[in-house]
Amino acid sequence: MTLIVENLSKSFGATSVFSNVSFSIEKGEIVCIKGKSGEGKTTLLRCLTTLETPDGGSIKINDRYLYKEDNGGIQTASKDNLQEIRQEIGLVFQSFNLFPHMNVLENLMLAPNFLNKRSKEDIEKRAEELLKQLGMEGKGDSYPYQLSGGQKQRVAIARACMLYPSILCFDEPTSALDEDTRGQISEIIRSLAGQDIAIIIVTHDNAFVDEIAERVITMSGGTIYES
């Protein structure tokens, strides 16, 4: 299993957002997470990507614990492991969060250059390749403010893919898109899944779920069920 979530719980202060959330995802699967507003979908993604620390339960990615159940509490992976495991899971934010002062190529290459695991040439080649794959050829020199919403999203996807993640999460990927670009994004997501990346999509958009989901998980009343 690529991702195993067990008995995960999270609260903010006294209010519990969810508890006992368990599910697992294989590589190449496309899983949609649905649920009413405020049910904790974004919070769940933020736990998976270490932006929030869960209160209990465990998250295991490619057989390594990101968070591990520990006497009812939770233990976070050691600093070195955390850095490594974190790169296995990417997130495409609802608002993309591109770096506005960097052009598209710089956005893509910043993290891999910092992590310094591949040569500069490989990194640049990978960036060019991804842009081509995503239909953004020739846009490497553009700044985020010069791009449309759909183009920014593709840059955000490419930026996440630069680190060769095994899991890629999307928060409301269709919220800023029209019909046509929605079709394009589902094609892109399918092709990523075809490259063995596990895909987790949080969305309200039922039409999009019908179009793309292989599995649907619903969050409701602080827990989840799969239909």
């Binding site: 850095q83 974190r86 969060n97 770096f99 002062h101 993290a111 930026r159 680190l163």
Partner: protein, 216 residues
């Protein structure tokens, strides 16, 4: 024209002080203020409060008083057996004072950056320091340039406060010549000198702002 024979060399001499105090203050207080801004925003309450108090004192009292305090203050506490020289006192007071003002500007600038920028960096595996230096700071500098520019221009004029410690700056030069020849001309002249300096700085600040205008 006797007036100018005296005025010009004295002004040049005085300008060395004016420009020296200006440059030293800027060079030290800008980097320091970024550190102070981060300390002010520290999660550690004690550090945040101490930094807050320092900023409060520096912004809440006149720079003139701070100059006097740092120079004369130590003479009144003979037990320490230690006092600052005039120039030391001037540099310390100006740097401490301007660091406080710049720090508040940087704090506002850092707060104005969307948390999404830090979150994206975290998910991409960037370290905190790297994120601050490469993602946050460049955006902050663009945002704070207009306010920093205002303070920089105020600083040029504030340098004239050094007269209180008996140090001759450009304005003091004008005053001396005016007294000697009983004429107002030196003041008009020095007014123009300030205007020329400010025009030059405005141009430089404009260029810096332009360098950051490649993105929105």
């Amino acid at each position: 024209m006797k007036v100018f024979e005296m005025l010009i060399p004295m002004t040049i001499e005085g300008l060395k002080t004016t420009i020296g105090v200006f440059l030293v203050t800027l060079i030290f207080s800008i980097p320091l203020s970024i550190i102070v801004a981060k300390l002010r925003m520290s999660k550690n309450k004690a550090i945040a409060n101490i930094t807050g108090t320092y900023i409060y004192i520096m912004r809440g009292t006149p720079l003139l008083l701070q100059l006097m305090f740092i120079f004369f203050g130590f003479h009144f506490v003979p037990v320490i057996g230690f006092a600052f020289g005039r120039y030391q006192a001037i540099f310390i007071a100006f740097i401490l004072n301007y660091t406080a003002y710049f720090a508040e500007i940087f704090r506002g600038g850092i707060n104005s950056i969307d948390v999404g920028q830090v979150e994206a960096s975290t998910v991409l595996g960037l370290s905190k320091t790297f994120t601050f230096m490469k993602v946050i700071l460049p955006q902050v500098i663009k945002n704070v340039m207009p306010s920093i520019g205002n303070e920089v221009i105020t600083l040029v004029k504030d340098t004239s406060l050094v007269y209180i410690l008996g140090v001759a700056d450009a304005l003091k030069a004008a005053k001396s010549v005016s007294n000697t020849y009983s004429t107002f001309i030196p003041y008009i002249f020095i007014g123009f000198v300030y205007l020329v300096i400010i025009a030059f700085l405005t141009k430089i600040l404009g260029n810096v702002e332009k360098r950051f205008s490649y993105y929105r």
